[in-house]
Amino acid sequence: MSIVTVQLGQCGNQIGFEVFDALFNDSHCPGGLCSKRENEAYQASCKERFFSEEENGVPVARAVLVDMERKVISQTLSKAARSGRWKYGQHSCFCQKQGSGNNWAYGYSVHGPRHKESIMNLIQKEVEKCDSLSGFFIIMSMAGGTGSGLGAFVTQNLQDQYSSALKMNHIIWPYGTGEVIVQNYNSILTLSHLYRSSDALLVHENDAVHKICAKLMNIKQISFCDINQVLAHQLGSVFQPTYSREGSFHYRRNPLGDLMENLVPHPEFKMLGVRNIPQMSENSLAYSTFTWAGLLKHLRQMLISNAKMEEGIDWQVRPPLSGLPPLGKMSVNKETHFNTSIANLVILRGKDVHSADVGHHRALKRVLCAVRMFSPVICQCQSPKFILLKKGKIKTLVLVAKRNPCTSM
């Protein structure tokens, strides 16, 4: 099944390019730990999801690029074409000249209705190219005008037109000390609209990713390109083909369906986060060894202490025991920062994945509200770059459904 990506605004388009690049490079990287047949199956599955075939054999990304300025889109198109290995469709982009001026209302009420026909036509053409549609993946930021306003409008229209397709919005939470003055207003307006029309909101915070770049990747001058690459790595780990734990014969067909079913069945809790471990620069990779047990332990603690990366985890945070009073009535002294999440999904990628034991994390079951197991997923091993955890039976790990949206602005 295929996923159609809609890239909105400057942020959305830049991230989108990095995502497709990362996906393509991962599926076509030489070597890896699998047989040729498995490699081919992996490639074919990844290709079917994100790329379509064109006459001269160069895969074309299943994406629609929308922006109110020309500059970013043309940069994105040329970067993709330059690599020669994949590209965007020539007629899959829509741009205007004047921009949105960081104004949510301008994006939502002016640009939206004015250009609704053209944008929805583009999306329809992409959808028709798919044999079967898994859903939409919409990349946008919340601070600007196009991504937030037009993004909310487009999502609403997708809800009306393709009510049976799943929609996941990938939203970028702006820097706390961001450049855009009205980013708070833009964010609130976007979130409130998206909560109604989208199925899941996958949130990435600029601050968190910035810290990852600084501390883990050891990048001195952090540019948006670096941040986008980290983001793309995390997203790729989620969307690349996976097996299920029970039957590792065929790849699972419906990536968005699996995610939604396991994480966002409840209509009120839609916000998701990603935690990825280990995250490091390529240079350090050669000097590190990992075990599944160690990784899982770190990841679990990252989850319950609400840490976004594997450095600086607060190991003091423990899940409250059943003997203690319920969470709402904690005494002032014992201010626990225990992160309550409703559902979690673990994706594991790497060598000896079957030996990874997620069993001893059952302790979390008591605390989280009444969630049972999801279908476990273990990913097939490819490049060791993507190591995520995705499994059922236990809570913790990669994707987390938060209880309270907008906890910090």
Partner: protein
């Protein structure tokens, strides 16, 4: 040449006839016990009862329950069998009063089985359900699905209050699973029409974690969807390959049979078991009479029962102390209910007598009204008859049909065009959607009415989808 001896009826034959008849029955039915169990059941031996409970469970539950990964305990099976038999109108009360742990009542179970066998062609119906299908089939109507009782709804122990958010969670999960299933089915349909030999890895297992769904309070469970191995436009590519000229091409199953020897062997095994069951069914039909004579003797050994006309819920024995209090209350309620039913019966009789008297007294007025009523009813019947005859021209499709791609102009003897079948299905879908909208409207009206009842509350309706 010796003189051909006339065959005397061998007394040993008569003795063997009954076990052979029962053995044929066992081979036909799924999960049936040996003839020895039947014999023990006649004498109400305890070891026979569990096996017969399980037999009844498998006979009464539709096919999907067999392949479900969830296994039901004997107690759950017993309860379900009792409820299904009651809903089908089984008259004997003694069966209902048997213990839930399934340890006794072999004779009653035999009678229940005989009742089921006598009602309709049970072995044939079961065989049709588990028939091995070789063609690509398309279900044309859903009569069978509607007629069979759903698979058992597992008991949910309600411990105190039910968490509404948990329910919402489960509902959402069910809805998403249905959407995924629909998407998978659509993908399968789309791929069936693709170009041949395009390598698309569309095999998947939509694994349905039924233990998760067990907590749902719905009756139906979602059936597993198993998409077969790579599908290409096999119908056009294998033209002329089939030995049966009227079909002309291979189906997906048959192609897989040729490509994959292991799968072929399994298919062969399944066909062989089905053949064995069919032969057993034939044998059973020949030897039925012996079985029924034996069942007469079983019935004779049962004590007569004076069954009350109503079915009252079974109250467990009252215990001592606080635990027994609700039970005693239930007993009291039961007695009250019986008394009320007596009163009601008397009142109904009195009313009926009064009405009869009134009717007789009215005279010509009433008779005219009655005549008008009869005329109206006759007209309605005539209209229905006419409508039926009009519709009889279009053959109403039933049951699954094999998909055959053909160049012929006219469908064969039993065939119909896929377009007609899809038209019929679309009409049915439109009907059902209209019904759904109507029911939703009713629900909304009810909600609106409830909203008006309590002015202090603020109701936030769910977002319109």
């Amino acid at each position: 040449m010796g003189r051909r001896r006339r065959r005397q009826p061998d007394p040993a034959d008569a003795a063997r006839a009954l076990p052979e008849a029962i053995a044929a029955l066992s081979r036909t039915l799924p999960a049936a016990p040996s003839p020895e169990i039947f014999r023990r059941a006649k004498f109400d031996r305890p070891e026979a009862a569990p096996a017969l409970w399980r037999l009844l469970f498998h006979v009464l539950s539709p096919l999907s329950a067999d392949s479900a990964s969830v296994s039901f305990t004997l107690e759950a099976q017993v309860r379900w069998v009792k409820s299904v038999l009651h809903s089908q109108g089984y008259p004997r009360l003694a069966l209902v009063q048997l213990q839930d742990d399934g340890s006794q009542g072999g004779r009653e179970l035999l009678l229940a089985l005989a009742w089921l066998l006598a009602r309709g062609p049970l072995p044939e119906r079961l065989l049709t359900q588990s028939h091995v299908r070789l063609g690509d089939e398309m279900p044309v109507c859903e009569c069978e699905a509607l007629a069979s009782p759903g698979p058992p709804a597992p008991r949910v122990e309600a411990e105190g209050s039910v968490d509404i958010r948990h329910l919402q969670w489960l509902m959402g999960k069910l809805q998403l699973r249905w959407r995924n299933l629909m998407a998978g089915q659509q993908e399968q349909c789309a791929l069936l029409g693709k170009n041949p030999w395009q390598r698309i890895f569309c095999s998947t297992r939509l694994s349905w974690n039924l233990s998760g769904l067990q907590l749902l309070l719905l009756c139906g469970t979602c059936p597993p969807a198993d998409l077969p191995a790579p599908q290409t436009q096999i119908h056009s590519y294998t033209r002329g390959c089939h030995s049966d000229r009227s079909l002309g091409h291979l189906s997906v199953t048959e192609t897989e049979l040729l490509r994959d020897p292991e799968g072929g062997r399994q298919l062969l095994q399944r066909l062989e078991t089905e053949n064995a069951r069919l032969e057993a069914a034939l044998e059973w039909r020949h030897r039925e009479l012996v079985f029924w004579r034996w069942m007469d003797t079983v019935l004779d050994t049962c004590p007569l029962e004076a069954s009350p006309p109503t079915f009252l819920p079974r109250i467990p024995e009252p215990g001592a102390g606080a635990a027994g209090l609700p039970v005693r209350e239930l007993q009291a309620l039961q007695e009250e209910l019986q008394a009320l039913q007596e009163e009601l019966r008397k009142a109904v009789e009195a009313r009926r007598a009064a009405w009869q008297a009134a009717v007789g007294g009215h005279g010509p007025e009433w008779r005219a009204a009655r005549r008008a009523l009869q005329v109206a009813v006759a007209q309605d019947l005539a209209a229905l008859q006419w409508a039926w005859e009009q519709g009889k021209g279009q053959a109403r499709p039933h049951g699954p049909r094999r998909l055959v791609r053909t160049e012929a102009r006219v469908p064969g003897r039993l065939g119909l065009w896929a377009t007609e079948a899809t038209e019929a299905l679309r009409a049915r879908e439109a009907c059902l959607e209209a019904m759904l909208h109507q029911l939703q409207g009713q629900c909304r009206q009810e909600l609106a009415r409830l909203v008006g009842v309590r002015p202090g509350l603020i109701w936030v309706p769910p977002p319109a989808r």
